[in-house]
Each structure stands twice: as structure tokens, then as C-alpha cells.
Amino acid sequence: MSPESERARLRSAILEFMPRSIESPDEKALGALLDDVAEWQARHVPPYARLVAARGIGAALPTDVFRHARVAAHPLSQDVAVFRTSGTTASPGEHFFRSLELYETAARLWASQLLFPSDVRMRFVLMDTPRPGSSLAHMVWSFTDWFSAGDSSQVTPCDPNSAAEVAQTIEAAAGDGPVCLLGTSFAFVFAEEALRESGASFQLPEGSRIMHTGGFKGRTREVEPAHMIEQLAARYGVAENHVVAEYGMTELSSQAYETTLTEPNTPRRLKFPPWVRATAVDPATLEPTGDAPGILRLEDLANLDSCCRIQTADMARREGDGWVLLGRAPGAVPRGCSLATESALA
């Protein structure tokens, strides 16, 4: 079978598996399909091929590799999209897509389950201008197409530092049914500071919700998650269970959401779609830790044209059928006088 026909077979199998697995999750079938995809990728994605040669087919590609090499089974000429990381390091990571079909299918299917579980369409307010070229930008603009009550061209990002602009945008959107506020966690923190100063607060219509994402990596302020939920719920007048965190990354094609909208009486946790296998592993040995905290290894079927097995540096622990994020893996206390930062050499 040619690489092309193998890819076509895998693509069909994944597209068939995704909606079916929502109805009836199937760990065994997921594992088999992940193995098929990984084996195909080990033949056609050079960095993954090298990793597999060194560590075997079960190896997960560190996210850092996306900063240093092209992780793709297809040539540059077939790229239809490139998502880039925020560039907090010298060289940003890049994820090259030959097609956005799987990405969009994954995003729509899982958001329909956990972020927009009812058919109610709503108005969108973007708390900041999504960074062009980011996977988040593509996702939120897609949401406004898929789930918006109005024309997506009417969705205008606001400046979170301007209380007047935030208030004006929200009030305009809230006049006509439920509203979804979307933005990075940090944009919400900026908006909170501006709104607190101006004294503005809102009572959003029934069914309104807030999706925040990204945490506070490398930022000047940090807010305890529980405190942030309280603040957001109070400021915008929504129930706390209508504040939903999203977890995603440039190197993946699927996202996880907190389950609070669909399971308001269970502990707050992130749930990955059933076409993603999440495992906590020991940072030093990469062996699974079971229910103990570890760094997340994520295997995402929707990453067909890059690498499905991704090793993150995010600490997490299992919580029932979901996950609680614990931040980035702690680094060691620097010893000696050797320069710790890579930037000086890179």
C-alpha cells in the first residue's frame, strides 16, 4: 500500500472513530488505531522515525521538537496551515497541517459536548485579539462560525485593558440572548483589573458562559484557579460552573475542557475527547504513574500528519475520568556557575 493510500485509510478510520467514540468510548480500539497511526508516522515523519529508532514505537515526541524541526509527513508544498506557539522562547514551535479536516472535526465535536452542549446559539465576545497564526485563533474564529447566533463578522475583539470597551462590547452582545466570553486567562486578568477599577460588573443572560485558556506561563501575574473562577463568576454574573477552562496546545489537534457545564455536581476536572489517550508519566523515567501526579503524555488521533504521541511538560493528576493540571514540571535548583539558560548558546 502506498503512503498516500495508507494515509487515506487512516484518515477514514479516524473520522469514523471520532463521533462513534463519543457515543461508546473504546479504549482498545483507540489503542489499536493509535498504534497504526504511530507506525505510519514512524515511517514518514523523520523526527519521529529517529525517536522510534532510539526508543521504540511507544515513544512520545517532546513538544520541544516542534521548535527545532519540521514534524510532518508531508512536504512543505502541501501545507494548508501552520500554527505557531506564542514564542516565549527564542524559536517558536510550529505545527504544519496538510488538512484542517481532522483538527476542525475534533474541535467541533468536543466543544459541542462540553462547551456548547445544548443547541442554543449565542453571541461571542473575544476578550482580546487572538494572536494571528495561533491554533487558539483558528479555534475561536471557528467557534464563532459554528456556534454563533449572529454573523461571525460581527464578533469584534475588545481590548481587555479598556474597561469602557469591554463593558460596551459585552453590553452590546448581551442584549440578545446568552453570551460566550472567550479569551486567554491572562486577558481575563487584565480585564478584571480594568473593570474593578471602573466598578463595572454584569449580569449576563441565562446560559451565558466563559471559556478561558492558557494559564499564566511566563506572565507577570498569577491568580489561583479557584479565585479566578470566583472573580469571573461574580464580575460577569454567571454561575461558577459556567466558567470553563480549556486546555490545548499548538502541538495537538484536540482540546480538553472542564466538565462543569455537563456535570456541575462533580469535581472540576479537564476531560479529553475519547480519541485522545492521556497518561501521567514520571518525568525522569517516562513510566506511567497511575493515579499519582506526573507529566502528561497525550496521544491524539487527530494529529495524523505530524505525530500522535506527544510528551508535554505539564504536571497533572488523574481525577476520576478527567485530569487536574498542576502546572509545569518544577525545574531543579541551579547548581554551580554553568549558564543555565539555553538562550545564550542558541
Binding site: R50, L51, L286, G336, C337, S338, L339, E342, L345, A346
Partner: protein, 388 residues
């Protein structure tokens, strides 16, 4: 009215005490210097002390023993006396007051030069050490004989205790070891008259020819890589090869494995980050994973992320020594050491980057064994200690 003695008052009192004891250093004799050298060797030979340092630093005990031995072996009373004579030292020519040494991020042996040179040249010295790495510096202060014993002191206090630091820094000369923020903090607090000598963080690069590079050369380079488990700023993080980089990498990996028997690696500082780095370089290039080391060979045309220390090194090919010289210069002041190896067929001038980086340039095998008398970060070890 009650008066409470603060920590800063205590530091001030210690400074006054060592300055008063400085009188005893006015007329040092050869006998005094011999006693000093003996005491330092006694400290270095103390097996309990080595174990304590190993526990604090995470290095293996043989590595600590090697570090101590190679750091003090060049210490020689005769030569110290010669330096004093060459400098034309007498009491009037010495810097007045005391020398302050701030140790906030350094190898455990880094305290030896800045603590001992002032004493040899007749100047009292006080160090601020970190609580997590104060074993050797305290042993030195405790075990030196008269007339040095009362002219040396060690204090530990936190960064937030700025009054203590200010008291310590009331001097003409300050040596500060640490990262950029530590150096800046000292500069900001030192009096305007003080000479602040920074010893910032950095790294080394080895530049070798593959011609004639055989097991002997690989063993020398392996020692440079393995010494102090790359915690030190002279450690080569990269090996640049003119010629066959892959063969040099293979030979180096084998040599690191051989060396592990004699100088075992200690605890890995951040095993999670190391694992992630290893996975990344395995995805990008050819990697030799040894018993306690990783040698990654950089593929043509794409840069590998540099290793994180603990015996991880990237080997990359360079077009020529001339091209390497330009690239070394671009590394700037963080480049602390260049180790070189080439045969007579190649140029004999090391393409040294210009000042202010002034790295140590030595043949491979000597990158991490500077003599007590060598320049330190480009400066003579008695910088600021003698008034001319």
C-alpha cells in the same frame, strides 16, 4: 532606651574584627605561607569534608576529591612568595580594609582563590556564602592557622537582608560569583569607590580537529566534559569539530564511559528536563547514550538544543578554524573557556574572541583545572588587592 543588636550589626562587627586582625598579615614569612598551604591541603584531604560536600552538591565523592585535589595542587609557598616579591609587596602597598566575596552561585571550589589570594597578599577577607553550599568555605575559615585565622570570616544571610549585605560591602574590592541578577544586586549596593569584580555564569566550548584525534585525546576531552558534572562555567557544552564530527563523537562517548568508572557522575540535577532534552535530540540527530553521559551529534543544517549539564554535550561540525573563531566571538562574555586540539598542520593561534569575554584558552584536558596562579575570568588573581 533599649538597643537591639541586629544581624547587620553582627556582620559589621565581624568586618571590624577581621580588619583589626589584618595587622597580623603585615609581615608574612615563607613559614606562614607554608603553614597556609599545609592547612589548605589538610582541608582538601579531609574525607568527612568531601562526603559533606558530595551530599550538598550532588557530585560523587570521587568527583569532589578530584575537584579539591586539582584545585589545590598548584598551591606552593615558594611561588606565593615569588608573587609577593614580584608585586613588590609591603604593608603600605596593600589595599586597605578588607575584601568581600559574595558566593551566590558557583562551584564549591570557587571560594578558594578569592578567599586565599587576599590573605596571601596581606588583606583580610569575608565571604557571604549560601546556606546550601557553605561547607568548604566554612572549613577554610575554621582551619587556617595564625596569623590568617582571625583575618578570614564567613557569613550566611538571605538576599532580603540588604542591611547585612551593605555592611559586608563596605570595602574597596568585592568579588561576586553568581548570575546576572546577583551581580547587579551587589553592584547596586557596593560603595562607589569599590571595585566589583564579577564572576558571572558561563560555559565552555571545545574546538578540535578530527585529524589525530584518538583515544588519548578523547580521554582528555572526556575529562573536560565530566569534571564537576558540568556544573562549572568552564565546562564544554559543545564540541566543535573541523573534520569528522561523528568519529570524534563516537570516541568521546566511549571515553566518557571509561571515565565513569574512575569519576562517577553524581545525582542528575533535573532528570525530567534531561529526559525531555534527550527525547528532543534523539528526534533530531544521532545520539550516543552512555552509562552516565549523552553525546548528541548535530546534523548538518539544523541546530540542536544545547545540553543541560550533567555530562551532556553536543558535537557539531564546523567548516574551518577561521569560521569557528568568528562563531566563538559571537558567543560573547558568557564564553568562559575554549579547549583546543589540533595538529601542526593546523593554525597554532587560538581564534580567541575579543575582550571583554577573555575566555580561558587551553589544550583539551585542562579546561577545568586552572592553576591557583592562572588568570581568573581574564583577570590577574590579585586584581584590586595591591595598590601600585
Amino acid at each position: 532606651m533599649s538597643y537591639r543588636v541586629t544581624r547587620a550589626d553582627e556582620v559589621r562587627a565581624r568586618v571590624d574584627a577581621i580588619r583589626a586582625a589584618g595587622v597580623g598579615l603585615r609581615a608574612l614569612t615563607k613559614k606562614d605561607l607554608e603553614a597556609l598551604c599545609r592547612a589548605v591541603r589538610w582541608v582538601a584531604d579531609d574525607s568527612d569534608l568531601r562526603s559533606a560536600i558530595a551530599r550538598r552538591t550532588g557530585l560523587s565523592t570521587p568527583m569532589v576529591e578530584w575537584g579539591l585535589r586539582t584545585s589545590v595542587e598548584s598551591l606552593d609557598a615558594e611561588r606565593l612568595l615569588e608573587v609577593r616579591e614580584q608585586l613588590g609587596l609591603d604593608w603600605e602597598s596593600n589595599a586597605s580594609g578588607h575584601v568581600a566575596v559574595v558566593l551566590s552561585g558557583n562551584l564549591f571550589t570557587a571560594c578558594l582563590k578569592p578567599m586565599l589570594w587576599p590573605l596571601v597578599l596581606g588583606v583580610p577577607v569575608i565571604a557571604k556564602a549560601t546556606a546550601r553550599d557553605d561547607v568548604l568555605v566554612r572549613a577554610l575559615a575554621d582551619r587556617l592557622p595564625d596569623p590568617f585565622a582571625n583575618a578570614i570570616a564567613v557569613e550566611t544571610f538571605s538576599r532580603d537582608e540588604t542591611a547585612c549585605l551593605e555592611a559586608l560591602l563596605q570595602t574597596d574590592v568585592v568579588h561576586v560569583y553568581g548570575g546576572a541578577s546577583a551581580i547587579e544586586a551587589v553592584r547596586a549596593q557596593a560603595p562607589a569607590r569599590a571595585l566589583v569584580v564579577p564572576h558571572g555564569h558561563g560555559f565552555g566550548v571545545a574546538l578540535v580537529s578530527s585529524v589525530g584525534f584518538e583515544a588519548t585525546q578523547a580521554d582528555m576531552l572526556a575529562l573536560d566534559v565530566a569534571a564537576y558534572d558540568q556544573h562549572g562555567c568552564l565546562s564544554p557544552r559543545e564540541v566543535w569539530v573541523v573534520g569528522d564530527a561523528t568519529q570524534v563523537a563516537i570516541d568521546l562517548a566511549a571515553a566518557l564511559d571509561r571515565l565513569e568508572v574512575r569519576l562517577p557522575r553524581g545525582a542528575v540535577s533535573d532528570s525530567g528536563a534531561q529526559q525531555s532534552w534527550l527525547g528532543t535530540v534523539q528526534s533530531l540527530g544521532d545520539v550516543r547514550v552512555g552509562h552516565s553521559s549523552v553525546v548528541a551529534i548535530e546534523p548538518q543544517g539544523s541546530a540542536l538544543p544545547r545540553g543541560l549539564g550533567d555530562r551532556t554535550v553536543v558535537v557539531r561540525g564546523v567548516a574551518s578554524f577561521e569560521a569557528a573563531g568568528l562563531e566563538l566571538a559571537a558567543l560573547g562574555p558568557h564564553l568562559k573557556c575554549v579547549g583546543y586540539y589540533w595538529t601542526k598542520a593546523h593554525p597554532t593561534v587560538v581564534p580567541v574572541p575579543p575582550m571583554p569575554s577573555a575566555p580561558r584558552c587551553v589544550p583539551i584536558g585542562q579546561m577545568q583545572t586552572p592553576s591557583f596562579f592562572d588568570r581568573h575570568d581574564g583577570w590577574e588573581p590579585w586584581l584590586g588587592l595591591v595598590r601600585r
